[in-house]
Amino acid sequence: MAPDPDAALMVAFQEGSEAAFRTLFERHGRATMAFCNRFVRDPARAEELAQDVFLKLHRSADRYQPSARFTTFLYRIATNHCLNEVRRGEYQARPEIDPESEDGAPLDPDALPGTSATPEEMARGNALARDVASMLSRLPESQRAAFVLARFEGLPYEEIAEVLGTTVPSVKSLVHRATVSAARALEPWSAGGAAS
């Protein structure tokens, strides 16, 4: 396995370098917030959850051993924290949050289909995001975690298995069942039409 520069930063933090910890946050904090938002669909809460994850990391630094990739360790903390959060139940009844109206937070420009996206393309992207979020909220939690890690974080099945503490065949099954559910829920999009 290639040397993991993030693991080296974590070791430097264990040895007392707060700057190393800040570098880790600057590298992974925003991605962790985006990951958390897949579970709670609330940017403000997602930011709090990402902060929680990094506080846990800060407190438990002395327990980290660089035998695993840093991001695997981070995803494991974040997944567990997000699943604990959604188990509280309040998100199941929460109405969909329109990304455009949430705190005036802009969508990540890199996310749009090009920097010159038309208003129609932006509206279509937002509608698709809402349908995907709604589909995610209906998945059982293990399928949801596996699906988010596979589809949005791009992790290979082997790493998802490490994050979730399960086997690769189990991940294969979880990802497949979630993807079949997604195919059913997103049928109007697959047919080339936009749900309006």
Partner: protein
Amino acid sequence: MIGRDRHVGDDLTALLDGALPDDRRAEVEAHLASCPECRSERDRIARALSSISLTPPPPAPRPGFEQRFYARLAREAPRHRSLLDRLAARPFRWLVPSTGLAALLVAGIWIRHADDRMDLEMARHLDLLESYVEVASLGVVETSEDVDVVSHLDELREGRP
């Protein structure tokens, strides 16, 4: 070899994800060549994956994202350090809960994956560990029954039965 009467199920998604070993991929592709039902299902999943790939990521954080975290870190990290210092000064107070936690972690690791790595397992149980540390600091955890209550604190906090 996959018979025509047996479909390939969850191998379809793994095939599209490039996650099948070469020999299995060859078997699944041979089956697809002769099974219109599985081809149709594969195409349906492929269309869904294409749609999902167009999903914009969640909103970017508001400006000051890093500064808000560093401010919270400055507020909360010293409090946690102080708690650990107090625990270190009274080691017998947390002997019971920490022994209980260690036993629980060892049992969990042994049951799930004998070769799983400790650091990842610890990541999974950070919430539980923090509950033990917080409650032990109050000096009210004395018996194994107390340890059991602490292990279910999250459920009490969430109002579960």
